[in-house]
Symmetry: C2
Subunit: 339 residues, 2 copies
Amino acid sequence: MEAVTDRRAGILRLVVREYVDTAMPVGSKTIREKYELSASAATIRSEMQALESDGFLTHPYTSAGRIPSDLGYRSYVESLMGPVELAAEEKATIRHQFYQAAPELDEWAKLAAVLLARSLGLVAIVTPPRSDDLRVRRVELVLLKDLLALLIVVLREARVLKQLVPLASPADQSQLNSTSSHLNERLVGKSLREIRRQSPAEGIEGGIERSIAQLLEVESQREIGAYIEGLSGVLEQPEFQQNRDDFIDVIRLIDARSVDQLMPPATLGNSGVSVVIGQEHPIRAMQHCSVVMTPYSARSGISGFVGVLGPTRLEYGRAVARVRYFSSLLDELMIEIYG
Amino acid sequence: MEAVTDRRAGILRLVVREYVDTAMPVGSKTIREKYELSASAATIRSEMQALESDGFLTHPYTSAGRIPSDLGYRSYVESLMGPVELAAEEKATIRHQFYQAAPELDEWAKLAAVLLARSLGLVAIVTPPRSDDLRVRRVELVLLKDLLALLIVVLREARVLKQLVPLASPADQSQLNSTSSHLNERLVGKSLREIRRQSPAEGIEGGIERSIAQLLEVESQREIGAYIEGLSGVLEQPEFQQNRDDFIDVIRLIDARSVDQLMPPATLGNSGVSVVIGQEHPIRAMQHCSVVMTPYSARSGISGFVGVLGPTRLEYGRAVARVRYFSSLLDELMIEIYG
DNA sequence: CTTGGCACTCTCAGCAAGAGAGTGCCAAAT
DNA sequence: ATTTGGCACTCTCTTGCTGAGAGTGCCAAG
């Protein structure tokens, strides 16, 4: 019984590997010859039948080879894929590129997205770290013209927001300096709610303070900003070329950068790498895709995530290994900043 | 002679309109019936033959309808298209959306890209204003940790650059304030070259100054940052669906945000709206596409551009009108800031 | 110069036939 | 009781063909 089950699982694993590799339905003979199994084709066929009746494989039509179902991929990811770890050499290469890049949060997020997309041929989505409650770390005002200044607000997590603000009366930079230093005294460490609660500042400061509140308000309602890379890679996948209609909505979501539609928000809470396969995805349009993602963070309340997205036929092992490594790398970099 | 030429030109115009509209080769009969021409089908046919031998039309095969050649489109754009102007109502709608948006350069550029892409179903590319020589307007330092600060450099055109900088020795924010105010005295209004030429600052300031120089250096070599929107619209065009191979390289360029490959740099100098049609484009991969673009600027040396990109079969009139209007709108907004 | 007429050309959809791949099942072998 | 070889069967995919359709090109008459 055990031996049989082992063999059956082994065949499922091979079917998944072969299908992921070739994108063609895989038959009993192919598997036997390519992987030099001792069992005969007929035996493999009957095992495949069993796997199909258990829901792990499907048949596009009567006499084609087998294709893994979502459940088949799930089982592969859970127990058949085996441990995944990047080679030390590859880790070093990746790490090196981060040290080469400009030391800046957005740069790192972008770099992670680019490298992930390139090495997997999938769409990669990486968000810079973001706090769920926005707190002011620092306020600056830069004079642009007599009656116009650039307001810069640095948030707790070192994100930088900016907005143009009109001035009620002409000012010079030194006046703005003293205004911003007053504002810093009043606002540093405060959240939007706390700023609203305290008695408003007066005069010019009051106007700026309202702008700051508005800026935080808008920012808190804005869609999560993310770096999305690698769309062209996915367009070359045979899935896209054949079932264009199934994927056009996915492209639309990517194009609109609707990160919370692309990445199932519920799974963001989990620690460790989440794998969402096909129909497991809550969004209809995404049910022909799989998502591999994981959050990273250095301190509670400040976090982002790293993820990739592609057709369900994707290299789960490689994807999980890389997503995990990139998130740990970002964790590390975050600790240097926030820790 | 003149009358004949007029009719011929009229037919070219109709062929372009009809083909742009339907994406199907257009025949003599279609044109006659749809536009109620007084001439007979045979006459139209012979005119079409003449247009073809002059290079304005082509034939996909012996007995299909006509398709405009690049030259045909060129002629349409130069003289047949007629004046293009948006309806006052539409202008008002667009303008309104800009006043609703957060007052910020990047926001405006992004909004312009989104609206352009949506209204034309093309890829829209808009760059925020950028100066060709980078000059420091202001420097700020924000303490993140004992030994780490966020360096913010505001450029002349109100762009904001940022970078993390390690500190040689522990500092508090007030020390950073005095450092940054010294740096402002030394650097405001200076370009990278000028900063390099003057004798370097000492101590902590020296380190920061080197970081600033590095930041400017990197920024000056970076690809122009642009907002690119509307890829999914273009993917639905029949051109893409049929000749995928011709367009995959274009998608790759878009994906890599290679703005200077997508938009022919030479034409950026021209004032007015540039239209680059098919083979006129210097980049091989782009020769199945057309580009409609125009620079905007409020002051010499600070400028950006607005452009759209799609298959050669695009609605040149609508595209030119919108690109022109958006650029004039951005011009106006820029004048409020820089003018 | 314009027009109706007509032969000609080329594509495209539909259909049939044959090849190919792979299954499903059965009866024999282990 | 499981495994295996054999074989019929099913379904797709390619190829070739045919007829319909669309549109041209040309010619001779208006």
